[in-house]
């Protein structure tokens, strides 16, 4: 199972989410689909039209910057981290 670590600001926004969770997926896109199945609405918070990962959301697979089609494995760790932006 792939381990996913979500930001605190997203967990507090969507009831039912957890900071660290595990999913069965083969790409980042599938990871987000699995999470959205558990807590509907999460996909819209991470993805923009396109679909594409929102401009100020960074996703890493095993510490490397990732895209929606980046492969993930059962031993992968996914970090979802808000960018250093805002004001």
């Amino acid at each position: 199972m792939t381990t996913v670590i979500l930001p605190r600001s997203l967990v507090s926004l969507i009831p039912g989410t957890e900071r660290t969770t595990q999913v069965d997926a083969t790409t980042v896109a599938e990871v987000i689909d699995r999470l959205d199945e558990r807590t509907p609405g999460l996909r819209n918070r991470l993805l923009d039209s396109g679909p594409s990962i929102r401009q100020h959301i960074n996703v890493y697979v095993d510490h490397q910057p990732a895209r929606l089609d980046t492969p993930v494995g059962p031993d992968s760790t996914i970090h979802v981290i808000p960018a250093v932006s805002g004001g």
């Binding site: 507090s12 926004l13 959301i57 808000p82």
Partner: protein
């Protein structure tokens, strides 16, 4: 006894001020909506819900809803999109309950409707199909649909205001739209009276008079007495033609309020540092200045387009928030004022609620 609330949208979340029954002492709750930038909050008396529209730089646009006076919230943006090939929507600028639906105005300018209380949204595509759309240009706040005015009895009729494009009206439930800017000057263009391109800042309908409208525009204050078919400048007597807000009385179509600000290229703040609300009692034929209780020196504050509200009590309570986080109120229809909150984030939206 009637309980009162102020719903306040800021750059750092929503806040609710509870004003009890006498509107003289206010307690602050917040920040709400997870600290998201919130442009607009509205009260839906039909089901006693609060709606809040905004957008997060990280997580995109959403409309929040609370059914327990702001204690708990949920949110959705399902369907709030122009499609995978369309422009991205960063934020919601207006939420307006009407005729059992909820409408949302967004950036870039467009209109969405929810028929299930904000859970899912559908694009009211006719507005962006207007032939002028390729020419739409943003104002300083972006290309934004910031005002939605439903007809009080005819669900087929609605008006919206877009900066810096102008006023549009539909009479067929949103299928087709017509530009309604005749007589409104565009003071930033070589052609002063184009079909569109006028920077309307706030559009309101007069109480009980769906044929009469007022607007605060970038280039003046205007009145229409024929349902927005034609407009006339009614800025004479004001300290400035520029401002963002227009508040209309809940029962008297001749009474309204504006807050003139300094020239748009000279700060857009209270003229001379003296903050004042100007009121008309005769349908904008003339204006009277009211600064009693407001700072009259060194108050270089702005007041944004949605940050002005009136309640429905008698006498009417009038409230506004500033770009620097002060909230002012009057419980004598704008004669005298007091500061009811300070040190809030920059205030973008104010809505006044009187609970039965």
């Amino acid at each position: 006894m009637t309980q009162t609330m102020l719903l306040v949208g800021t750059s750092k979340g929503a806040f609710i001020l509870d004003g009890g029954t006498d509107r003289t002492s206010w307690s602050v709750r917040g920040p709400l909506c997870n600290g998201w930038p919130i442009h607009d909050l509205q009260w839906d008396p039909a089901n006693r819900s609060i709606y809040a529209g905004g957008g997060s730089v990280w997580y995109g646009p959403a409309v929040f809803r609370s059914d327990d006076l702001g204690e708990t919230w949920n949110h959705s943006s399902e369907g709030l999109t122009y499609g995978d090939d369309g422009p991205k929507i960063p934020t919601v600028w207006n939420v307006t309950p009407a005729n059992g639906s909820i409408y949302a105005g967004v950036e870039p300018a467009g209109l969405f409707r929810s028929d299930d209380g904000g859970a899912t949204w559908g694009h009211v595509a006719g507005l962006r199909e207007h032939p002028s759309r390729p020419d739409w240009q943003p104002g300083a706040g972006g290309l934004i649909c910031h005002t939605i005015v439903p007809h009080p009895t005819d669900a087929e009729k609605m008006w919206v205001a877009i900066s810096a494009v102008g006023t549009f009206a539909t009479e067929d439930g949103g299928t087709t739209w017509e530009a309604r800017n005749r007589g409104v000057v565009n003071c930033n263009a070589p052609d002063p009276y184009p079909e569109t391109g006028q920077c309307v800042h706030k559009l309101v309908m007069a109480a009980g008079r769906p044929d009469r409208f007022y607007q605060q525009n970038h280039c003046g204050v205007y009145r229409s007495t024929d349902g927005t078919q034609h407009w006339e400048d009614v800025s004479k007597g004001l300290s400035s033609e520029f401002g963002f807000v227009f508040g209309s009385h809940p029962r008297d179509p001749d009474t309204g309020w504006v807050i003139p600000l300094s020239h748009p290229e000279e700060g857009r703040t209270a003229p001379g540092g003296a903050l004042a609300v100007w009121r008309t009692r005769n349908g904008a034929d003339s204006w009277e200045r009211h600064g009693d209780g407001l700072p009259q020196e060194n108050a270089y504050v702005g007041v944004y387009r949605e940050a002005f509200a009136v309640d429905r009590l008698d006498p009417v309570g009038v409230f506004f928030g500033t770009s620097t986080g002060q909230l002012y109120g009057s419980i004598d229809e704008g004669e005298t004022w007091s500061r009811i909150a300070d040190n809030l984030p920059p205030i973008w939206g104010v809505e006044a609620v009187a609970l039965d």
